[in-house]
């Protein structure tokens, strides 16, 4: 039995909402999981902090720890002026983190393994950086592309490289999260497929199937780390890009 590792990323229509100019609007499993993510993040942050206990319980500790963790990250990378973007970065972090964690539950759906979702988030960050940078600094924002202390001779080449690297930011920002999630889940699926292949081969295969099963358990632990790490990377890169908009001089 050959398991198709890509099948888990298929988007299914759950309910038809209507048509707009001939395009059908569907409520998909991706949208359902996004609602679950927003609901669980809200339940954690609103519900767990509602008692406002002086000595926090477990859930309240999680909520407070995640708040302080992201707040420290924003303050250390984007400075105190960057704290006005803290709600934005915190929202992004919690959304990506819960999307990754919910995607680890078997038979659920990983929203961040869809390029369209991560590209939307990355383009949102990109346009906020560009618009806020020009709004705050005016044309001084263009200093971002002109590093100080570079010899005049090679300056044009450096400016071209800086502009290109700036424009490729949303690509790498979105593809990093997308490809990490995609590759991790494909790996899990392939190793889970080995279990089925070996277990179907008879009694000797059952003992052989223990090996890929142990591998799947360890990979799941690794994926848990990756899920957290990629959410953190997404948030810290957002902070670094926002820092460029706030302090465009190198």
């Amino acid at each position: 039995m050959q398991v198709d590792p890509i099948h888990q990323f298929a988007i299914n229509n759950l309910m038809q909402l209507g048509t707009v100019r001939g395009h059908q609007l569907h409520f998909t499993n991706s949208a359902l999981v996004m609602f679950i993510i927003v609901g669980s993040v809200s339940a954690l942050l609103i519900g767990a902090t509602a008692p406002r206990a002086v000595v926090p319980g477990r859930l309240q500790s999680i909520a407070e720890l995640s708040y302080e963790f992201v707040a420290n990250t924003v303050r250390s990378t984007a400075g105190n002026e960057g704290m006005r973007f803290f709600p934005f970065v915190f929202t992004l972090f919690m959304f990506v983190l819960f999307a990754n964690l919910i995607g680890l539950i078997p038979y659920s759906f990983t929203v961040t393994s869809q390029l369209i979702v991560t590209a939307t988030l990355a383009l949102l960050v990109f346009f906020i950086v560009v618009i806020y940078g020009f709004w705050r600094n005016g044309l001084h924002f263009l200093n971002l592309f002109v590093p100080k202390g570079v010899p005049k001779l090679i300056l044009p080449a450096i400016v071209v490289i800086e502009v290109l690297s700036f424009l490729s930011r949303p690509v790498s920002h979105s593809v990093r999260l997308f490809a990490n999630m995609l590759a991790g889940h494909i790996t899990l699926q392939v190793f889970a497929g080995f279990i089925i292949l070996l277990a179907g081969a008879g009694v000797l295969g059952w003992f052989g199937a223990v090996l890929p099963f142990a591998m799947v358990v360890m990979l799941t632990a690794l994926e848990l780390l990756v899920a957290f790490l990629q959410a953190y990377v997404f948030a810290i890169l957002t902070c670094i890009y926002l820092n460029d908009a706030i302090h465009p001089g190198h």
């Binding site: 250390s76 990378t77 593809v175 990093r176 490809a179 590759a183 790490l229």
Partner: protein, 75 residues
Amino acid sequence: MDPTAAKYIGAGIACIGMGGAGVGVGIIFGNYLAAALRNPSAAQGQFGNLIFGFAITEALGIFSLLIALLLLFGL
């Protein structure tokens, strides 16, 4: 050559690029660990830089993996 075979060979070749990213990520974490053992008190402050360098390096490997995945499943 059979186009399907060429596709699979191309996906395999594209994955070689991940080796470079593997070397880079190893250098980053290895140097961080070496520096952290020399000066443990300063290690925590550089954790953000570590993750940033890791993310930038990893992105290049991810790009080659993406090409391989596109060849296998996308195009």
